[in-house]
């Protein structure tokens, strides 16, 4: 019987007893001896019941209160009967109420005692009123054993009922104990409010590595590590307030100090007059491990996504951006939140309609991959865009992957390559006819020079034009001729860089009047490189010639070589005029020249570059205006053929 029900029944029985007692006192044929005492009795009776109404229901589970009540009520009823002497007939019924009341305790002994006392009291009352000797004395006397027999009868019922209940209780207790012990979750029972552990199941022992006996010595706060104390107490305060609560942010401390992450829920349970907290927890280690794995794989995916240097985005079939990689964010100089959820053409290009020829539109329509090259006017960029469909199980389009590659640079290089391939073709042709062109050209220039010297000739400026034009033709033929050599497959030998550098220097010195240039040679032994000697000479003579020109025939030229781990390095360094920063990135482009038309073809360094890269070498330039220029060439070392 729950506390609530028990309280109700007790109160109800007592109200009944009060009403019946009052009725019998005031309206039966008996004589009230002392009206004040009677009023006091009834008032006390009512007052006691009113008082009980306000007592907490848990108190009614307390046998002490219950027994006191039964004794108190028996006393009151007996006293009432005594006061209303001459009550002859029906007052004894009240005893039954008391007995029924007593039977609520389910205590056979108590019931027997009450029954005995009641029968005795009734006997005493009958005797004191002299009823035993009256004419109906026999019938009054018979009521005494009747009361006792009824008590025995109630007692029997109560006992049987109690036994049955106990049996069932034992069975269900067994059952519940089994469920408790074998639960897959750890269950800890704490006593309220001391928070002392009173029971734990096997799972708790397993998870915490503590024995049950050890745990029973502990309290709530011993379950957690010292650094979690505050958090645990905070949580429990909440549980006390709400009656229950759940958390997954606490770690239990196992034996040996290893924390155990758990999903913990607590609930207050009131059992009879006792109150407990039930803590149920589940080991989260596995779940956390899986969560970590999922998180990691998510991060890995994002890392792959971000690792791709081209722009990648995933869009819905109505162009809304679902996901983007870092390259997109960097390219558009914005952040993740700015782009997500917006339509791609709005977010990327501030347009109100999808871009023309956008492959995503094609994929949305066809559910098939598509690609195209888009020219974006902004920055004159070319974008190669691919789009791939992501389909769901039913084959419907779920989203579209857009992959954007900036091919502006690639296209520029390709254009350059085509151009230089063309040049090579022209070069082969040019070198074939160079001899045929150069001879008459020498004649033209030579004769113009002679004419220039003739005093009779009036307009000398024209002659100068002829000479300079002739020289231009010569330079172009020479430059184009060089391409043919790179294109040709020529015989290769082991080339000693130091030797070639020395020769090239000699050659340039012969060709250029540059006596004021001081040359510093810092040669270290370097490994020989397999190459065409003519090409290497071309590279060096060109760089040295450039250096001489940059220094205006005055300054210091430093030629140095050294052997690196995987390469042979050659440096040509001057302290001449230097190259303006804005030109640096273009100096190896064909036809790039800072000189006036006619002074340079812009082919020289391009040829140098092509030769160096032909041998898988690298050429770098460092330059500062008016400080000088250093070209650094590295040729990879020949692989040892063992």
């Amino acid at each position: 019987m729950k506390g609530q029900d028990r309280k109700k029944v007790i109160l109800l029985l007592r109200w009944t007893a009060i009403i019946v007692t009052s009725y019998l006192i005031f309206f039966s044929k008996g004589r009230v001896t002392d009206l004040h005492l009677i009023h006091l009795l009834i008032f006390g009776y009512i007052f006691s019941n009113l008082l009980l109404t306000f007592l907490p229901k848990t108190w009614f589970s307390n046998p002490k209160l219950f027994y006191s009540l039964v004794i108190f009520d028996t006393g009151l009823v007996s006293f009432g009967m005594y006061l209303s002497e001459m009550v002859t007939t029906d007052f004894y019924i009240l005893f039954f109420l008391v007995i029924i009341f007593a039977s609520l305790s389910r205590n056979f002994k108590l019931l027997m005692a009450i029954g005995g006392v009641t029968a005795l009291l009734y006997g005493i009352l009958l005797y004191s009123w002299g009823l035993l000797t009256s004419e109906n004395g026999i019938s009054y006397i018979l009521r005494i054993p009747f009361i006792f027999i009824m008590t025995v009868f109630y007692g029997y019922i109560v006992q049987t009922f109690t036994r049955e209940t106990q049996k069932q209780l034992a069975i269900s207790e067994d059952k519940y104990q089994g469920l408790f012990e074998n639960a897959n979750d750890g269950i800890i029972i704490l006593r309220n409010p001391q928070l002392q552990i009173v029971d734990v199941n096997r799972e708790v022992e397993r998870l915490t590595s503590y024995k049950k006996e050890e745990l029973l010595q502990k309290g709530f706060s011993d379950l957690f590590g010292s650094e979690e104390d505050g958090k645990a107490l905070g949580y429990f305060e909440e549980v006390m307030k709400q009656g229950e609560g759940r958390t997954d942010s606490l770690s239990l401390m196992r034996k040996g100090g290893v924390p155990l992450e758990v999903d913990l829920s607590a609930k207050r349970i009131d059992l009879g007059d006792e109150s407990f907290f039930q803590l149920i927890f589940r080991d989260l280690t596995e779940q956390r491990r899986l969560e970590k794995k999922i998180r990691e794989s998510k991060m890995n995916l994002q890392a792959i996504f971000d690792g791709i240097q081209d722009r990648l985005s995933i869009q819905t079939p109505d162009y809304k951006i679902l996901r983007i990689n870092k390259a997109v964010i960097q390219h558009h100089h914005t952040n993740y939140e700015e782009l997500i959820g917006k339509k791609c053409y709005e977010a990327y290009y501030q347009k109100s309609l999808p871009c023309e020829r956008c492959p995503v539109s094609v994929t949305i329509k066809t559910k098939k991959p598509a690609s195209s090259i888009l020219k974006i006017s902004e920055g004159d960029t070319s974008l190669r865009t691919f789009s791939y469909p992501i389909l769901d199980d039913k084959g419907d389009l779920r989203s579209v992957i857009e992959y954007v590659q900036d091919i502006t640079e690639e296209q520029r290089l390709q254009k350059q390559l085509i151009q230089s391939e063309k040049l090579a073709g022209v070069g082969i042709l040019a070198s074939g006819v160079a001899h045929e062109i150069n001879n008459p050209l020498a004649g033209i220039i030579g004769m113009a020079e002679i004419a220039l010297e003739e005093e009779t000739f009036k307009n000398k400026a024209y002659l100068k034009d002829i000479i300079s034009c002739g020289q231009r033709i010569g330079e172009i033929v020479k430059g184009l001729g060089s391409y043919s050599r790179i294109a040709k497959k020529e015989e290769q030998s082991l080339v000693d860089m130091n030797e070639v550098l020395e020769d090239s220097l000699k050659m340039v010195r012969l060709a250029i009047k540059a006596s004021a240039v001081e040359v510093v040679e810092r040669f270290q032994p370097v490994e020989k490189i397999e190459a065409n000697i003519g090409e290497i000479q071309h590279v060096f003579t060109h760089l040295i010639t450039n250096a001489f020109q940059a220094m205006n025939s005055k300054g210091t030229l430093i030629l140095s070589t050294r052997s690196l781990k995987d390469s042979a390095e050659v440096k040509v360094s001057d302290n001449g005029m230097g190259i303006p920063q804005k030109y640096i990135s273009h100096i190896f482009d064909p036809f790039f020249t800072t000189r006036n038309p006619g002074e340079g073809t812009g082919l020289g360094l391009n040829i140098v570059y092509r030769i160096v890269t032909k041998y898988e070498g690298t050429i770098d330039v460092e330059s500062e205006e008016n400080m000088g220029t250093t070209f650094t060439i590295q040729f990879p070392k020949r692989r040892e053929e063992s």
């Binding site: 070198s431 160079a434 001899h435 045929e436 062109i437 150069n438 001879n439 008459p440 050209l441 020498a442 004649g443 033209i444 220039i445 030579g446 004769m447 020079e449 002679i450 010297e453 000479i467 002739g470 020289q471 033709i473 010569g474 020479k478 001729g481 060089s482 050599r485 020769d503 050659m507 012969l510 060709a511 009047k513 000697i533 003519g534 000479q537 071309h538 003579t541």
Partner: protein
């Protein structure tokens, strides 16, 4: 006594240019139109300088230089190679054979003067 220079080239116009310019500078100039002629003239006369084209009919410039440099009598004559070939290996071949200077066509009077200065020092 003026220095004597042999100019060898199959191109008339180039011979003419050199003839005029060198004469102006005060040199005595002889001409040959091919390798054979050149060797013939070298045998007859003493020269202070040989300016020699490479690509010529009959006997090319390389052969002329080779013969000049192998003949004890002419070995001492400095040689300026004059050619429309302008690739570096050719240049090296010229130096290897004993040429002293290398001029590629088209060339200017300045280049010629520089070459002469290298050969004779001063004017």
């Amino acid at each position: 006594m003026s220095k004597k220079i042999l100019v060898v080239d199959d191109e008339e116009v180039i011979r003419k240019f050199l003839r005029i310019q060198l004469a102006k500078l005060g040199y005595e100039v002889k001409e040959a139109a091919d390798g054979e002629q050149a060797l013939e003239k070298l045998g007859k006369d003493d020269f202070d300088l040989l300016i020699c084209d490479i690509m010529m009919p009959k006997k090319d410039g390389w052969e002329v230089i080779k013969e000049v440099k192998s003949n004890p009598k002419t070995r001492g004559i400095p040689v300026i190679v004059l050619t429309a070939k302008q690739e570096d290996p050719d240049m090296f071949k010229g130096y290897d054979l004993g040429a002293s200077y290398y001029m590629t066509k088209p060339f200017t009077k300045d280049q010629l003067l520089y070459g002469l200065k290298l050969m004779f020092g001063g004017a």
